[in-house]
C-alpha cells in the first residue's frame, strides 16, 4: 500500500457509489475503496470535508502544440488541466502541422512524456490536412496512440467522406468525433442567429447549421454502425436528436461545454470577443435544454473545447476575432454551479466529468474501481472563489467566466498514484518525476 486517502466522500458514478469511503492506492492503481481502511505504516491523505472523485477527463482540448506554442503548449495546457482537477485530456489535431500522421502523434506524446503533468490522449485527423477530402492514415494514427479521429474546427462537409470515416475507423477501434456545422448555412456567421444578432447586426449562424449535420451523422451511423461521438453540442434540437438516436440504440455519444449550459447569446451584446466561439452561445431555451440533457444523462460528457488564443488575437473587432474560449480551470466549478443551483444531481455532474467522457472515447479510468489507474481528484465542494484569468496556469486568458463567483474547486490531482497538483501548486515537471504525495 502506497498511501490511503481517508475520511473523504467518494462519488464514483460507474459503481453508483456516493458515500464516505477510504481509498487505498498501490503501484499506481486503486487497491481498495472501503468504508474504513487501516493504513498501517502507509502515509495518509486527510480528505475530510472533501469529495474523492475519479480523475476528471476532458475529451476536447486544444493544446496548440506543435505550431502555436505562443497560445498554449503541452506543458502549460496540462498544468491548467491538473489545476482544474483533470487527470487526462484529449488533444485535438488542428495543430501546425496537423496531427494527421504518426510522426505528429509521437511528437505530442513525447512532449507529454517530458513536460506534461496529466495524461494526454492525442486525437488524429479524419482527413489529410483537415481538408475534408482524403482520409488520413487512421490505422497508423491509431497504432501511434490516437484514441479517436476528428476534423474538429472544420466540419466534414462531404457526406461520403464521413461515411467512409465511420466505416474505416471502426476497424481500429477508433471513435469518430464530429464537429457538426453546415458551412453553407453557417456562411461566416460570428454569433447565434436570434434576437441578439438582430440587435447587433452581426452575421449569424442558425441552430440548424449544427442540427442538420448532427442529423446527417446520426443517419450515417445507422447506415454504417460506426462509433460516433458528437462534439460541443449546443442546441435544443441537437439534444433531441441525440436522445432519439440513443433510443434507437445507435452507438453514439455526445458532449457539451460549460459555456453552453451557463451563458446565452446575450453575453455577446457588448461585443465581448471572449464570448465568441463555434458553435456560438445560444438562447436561454437551448441553455435549459442542455441542462436537462445533462440531468437525463442524454449528454455523456462535459468537455471544455479549451481553445487558447493570445490576448492580441482576441482584442480586435468581433467579426475578426478567432473562435474559442479556454475552460480547463473553470470547468469543474462551472459544472458544480448547476449542482449548487439544484439543476443537476451531483452524481450526474461527476459522471459527465469522469465516467461519461471515459466511455465516450474508450479511455481507461473515469472510475475508482479497484485495479484501475489511481487517477483521483480531490475536490472541496464548498470552496468559494472568483474566476481570475490572470491567475491561470494556462498561457491564455480568453475566459468567458472572468469575475464569476464559483463554489467548488479541485484541491488535489493525482495521476497514476502521483500527486501533480496540490492546493494551488503544480508539484511536478512531468508524470515520471512526480512525488506520490504532496510534501
Amino acid at each position: 500500500m502506497e498511501f490511503v486517502i481517508r475520511g473523504g466522500h467518494v462519488i464514483d458514478p460507474a459503481s453508483g457509489l456516493d458515500a464516505p469511503r477510504d481509498v487505498a492506492v498501490a503501484e499506481g492503481k486503486i487497491l481498495a475503496v472501503e468504508p474504513s481502511i487501516d493504513p498501517g505504516p502507509a502515509p495518509v491523505v486527510d480528505a475530510s470535508g472533501l469529495w474523492v472523485l475519479p480523475g476528471l477527463i476532458d475529451i476536447h482540448v486544444h493544446l496548440r502544440e506543435p505550431g502555436q506554442e505562443y497560445k498554449e503548449d503541452v506543458a502549460s495546457g496540462t498544468r491548467a488541466a491538473a489545476a482544474g482537477g483533470f487527470t487526462a485530456v484529449a488533444a485535438m489535431p488542428n495543430t501546425q502541422p496537423v496531427n494527421d500522421n504518426a510522426e505528429v502523434t509521437r511528437y505530442i506524446l513525447e512532449k507529454a512524456c517530458r513536460g506534461g503533468v496529466c495524461r494526454v490522449y492525442p486525437v488524429g485527423a479524419i482527413s489529410k490536412g483537415l481538408r475534408g477530402e482524403d482520409l488520413a492514415e487512421i490505422g497508423e494514427l491509431a497504432e501511434a496512440g490516437c484514441v479517436a479521429v476528428t476534423d474538429d474546427g472544420h466540419p466534414v462537409s462531404s457526406s461520403l467522406l464521413m461515411r467512409r470515416a465511420l466505416e474505416y475507423a471502426s476497424a481500429f477501434g477508433v471513435v469518430v468525433v464530429s464537429h457538426c456545422e453546415d458551412l453553407d448555412l453557417a456562411r461566416g456567421g460570428a454569433m447565434n442567429e436570434g434576437l441578439a444578432s438582430a440587435y447587433l447586426g452581426l452575421p449569424a449562424v442558425p441552430a440548424e447549421a449544427e442540427e442538420i449535420q448532427v442529423a446527417r451523422d446520426l443517419l450515417l451511423v445507422r447506415r454504417t454502425g460506426g462509433r460516433l461521438h458528437l462534439a460541443h453540442l449546443s442546441t435544443r434540437g441537437s439534444m433531441k436528436l441525440l436522445r432519439y438516436a440513443k433510443r434507437m440504440g445507435l452507438p453514439v455519444t455526445g458532449e457539451t461545454a460549460p459555456h453552453y449550459f451557463t451563458l446565452t447569446e446575450d453575453a455577446v451584446r457588448s461585443f465581448d470577443t471572449h464570448a465568441k466561439m463555434n458553435p456560438p452561445l445560444r438562447e436561454i431555451a437551448d441553455v435549459e435544454a442542455v441542462q436537462k440533457a445533462l440531468r437525463r444523462g442524454v449528454v455523456d460528457a462535459v468537455a471544455t473545447d479549451h481553445a487558447p488564443h493570445a490576448p492580441d488575437e482576441k482584442e480586435v473587432e468581433f467579426e475578426a476575432a478567432p473562435n474559442g474560449v479556454i475552460g480547463l480551470e473553470t470547468s469543474l466549478g462551472v459544472t458544480l454551479r448547476l449542482v449548487h443551483h439544484g439543476l443537476l444531481d451531483r452524481v450526474r455532474a461527476v459522471a459527465a466529468l469522469t465516467w461519461g467522457p471515459a466511455r465516450a472515447l474508450g479511455l481507461p479510468g473515469g472510475t475508482l474501481a479497484p485495479g484501475g489507474p489511481a487517477d483521483i481528484t480531490l475536490v472541496d465542494p464548498e470552496a468559494r472563489w472568483t474566476v481570475d484569468p490572470a491567475a491561470f496556469f494556462s498561457k491564455a486568458r480568453n475566459c468567458p467566466f472572468a469575475g464569476m463567483d464559483l463554489r467548488g474547486r479541485a484541491v488535489g490531482t493525482i495521476v497514476g498514484g502521483r500527486t501533480v497538483y496540490w492546493n494551488g501548486r503544480i508539484l511536478a515537471e512531468n508524470l515520471e518525476t512526480a512525488e506520490r504525495l504532496p510534501t
Partner: protein
C-alpha cells in the same frame, strides 16, 4: 438638461429624453447653417479626427462641414490612405490616434461593434458614423429631426421602413430611435431581408409593401446594398423594384400628407422611382441639410459645449 455621455456609439442605450435633447439642440444649429457667416466658435481649439475605415462620401462630408462650422480643427484619414492597408490592427491605430490627443474621433468602420471597441479604449469622445450592420446613430437622429420638423412630433406617427432591414444599420438605429419616442414602426421587405425575431424589437413586420405603407405618415426606403449581400437574397433588381420598390402608386395608400425619405445614396429605379424621389412628398434633400445641424449638435454636446451656451 446636461448631456453626460462621452460617446455616441449607438441609439439603443439612449434614453428618450437624450434623443429629444439632441434634436432640440440641433434646432439652434440649423439656423447657423442658414446664416451668411456659417460659423460659431463653440469648438475652437478642439481637434476632431474623422477616421473612415470604409468608403463614405455624404456622411464624411456632413461631419466635416459640421466640425468646421463649429470651428474645430479637423483631420481626416481613410482606409485607402492609412496604415490599415499595411495591416495595422484597429487597436494599434486607436493607440496611435490617442497619442496625438484628439478631442473627438468620428469613426466609420465595416465591423459591427468597432465604434464601441474604440470608445472603450479612448479617453476622448467617439462618434459612430456607421459600424458594419450594427448602428448609424447620427443618421437616425437626422431622420427623426426631419420627421419632427415636418410633422411637429414623433409620438403616434406610423413610420414604414422598406428594404434590407437585416443588413441595414440605418434601419436598426431608426427602429430604436422611433420606438423610444413613441412612433409605430413597420418594417417591410422580402423575408430574406428581415432579421429573425424582428417583432421583438418592437416593430410590425410586413412582406407586402401595400399593407406596410397603408396609412403611413412617413415612408422610408433603404438603399439596396448589393455589396453587403454574401449571396443573393433577392433574385434581381428588376423583381425587387417591381415587388418592393417605392413608387407613386404604392404611396397612394399612405396618409395624404405622407413624406418620403431615403438615407442615400439612392439606386434610382430600384428601391425608389425618380418620380417619387424628386417629387413633392420627398424630403430627401432636407435630410441631408439636417444632417449637418444634427452632427453639429452631437459634437457640441459631447465635447463639453453642453456646459455653457454655445452662442453666448
Amino acid at each position: 438638461m446636461e448631456f453626460q455621455r462621452k460617446d455616441l456609439v449607438a441609439i439603443e442605450p439612449l434614453a428618450p429624453e437624450e434623443i429629444v435633447h439632441i434634436l432640440d439642440t440641433a434646432e439652434g444649429f440649423l439656423e447657423v447653417s442658414r446664416r451668411e457667416v456659417k460659423k460659431v466658435p463653440a469648438l475652437r481649439g478642439k481637434t476632431v479626427v474623422n477616421g473612415f475605415f470604409e468608403p463614405s462620401t455624404r456622411t464624411r462630408l456632413s461631419f466635416e462641414i459640421a466640425e468646421k462650422r463649429l470651428s474645430a480643427d479637423t483631420v481626416n484619414f481613410s482606409a485607402s490612405t492609412s496604415s490599415v492597408k499595411k495591416g495595422e490592427t484597429l487597436l494599434d491605430t486607436v493607440r496611435n490616434i490617442e497619442a496625438m490627443v484628439p478631442d473627438a474621433v468620428v469613426i466609420r468602420h465595416g465591423a459591427a461593434g468597432a465604434a464601441e471597441f474604440v470608445a472603450r479604449r479612448l479617453a476622448c469622445s467617439v462618434i459612430n458614423a456607421g459600424d458594419g450592420r450594427h448602428e448609424h446613430p447620427t443618421q437616425a437622429l437626422l431622420d427623426l429631426f426631419t420627421i419632427r420638423r415636418r410633422k411637429g412630433r414623433i409620438e403616434g406617427l406610423t413610420v414604414t421602413i422598406v428594404g434590407d432591414i437585416a443588413n441595414s444599420r440605418v434601419a436598426r438605429s431608426n427602429i430604436h430611435a422611433l420606438t423610444k419616442l413613441g412612433a409605430r414602426v413597420r418594417v417591410c421587405g422580402p423575408p430574406t431581408m428581415l432579421p429573425p425575431q424582428v417583432e421583438r424589437m418592437g416593430v410590425e413586420a410586413h412582406t407586402r409593401v401595400a399593407e406596410a405603407v397603408a396609412g403611413a405618415d412617413v415612408v422610408m426606403a433603404l438603399r439596396i446594398q448589393k455589396e453587403r449581400l454574401g449571396r443573393a437574397v433577392f433574385p434581381s433588381d428588376r423583381e425587387y423594384a417591381r415587388v418592393f420598390g417605392l413608387n407613386s402608386r404604392v404611396l397612394e395608400g399612405a396618409a395624404a400628407d405622407a413624406i418620403v425619405m431615403h438615407p442615400g445614396p439612392m439606386n434610382r429605379g430600384v428601391e425608389i422611382t425618380s418620380e417619387l424621389a424628386d417629387g413633392p412628398r420627398s424630403v430627401i434633400l432636407e435630410q441631408v441639410e439636417h444632417g449637418v445641424a444634427v452632427r453639429m449638435a452631437v459634437l457640441y454636446l459631447l465635447l463639453g459645449g453642453g456646459r455653457s451656451e454655445w452662442n453666448s
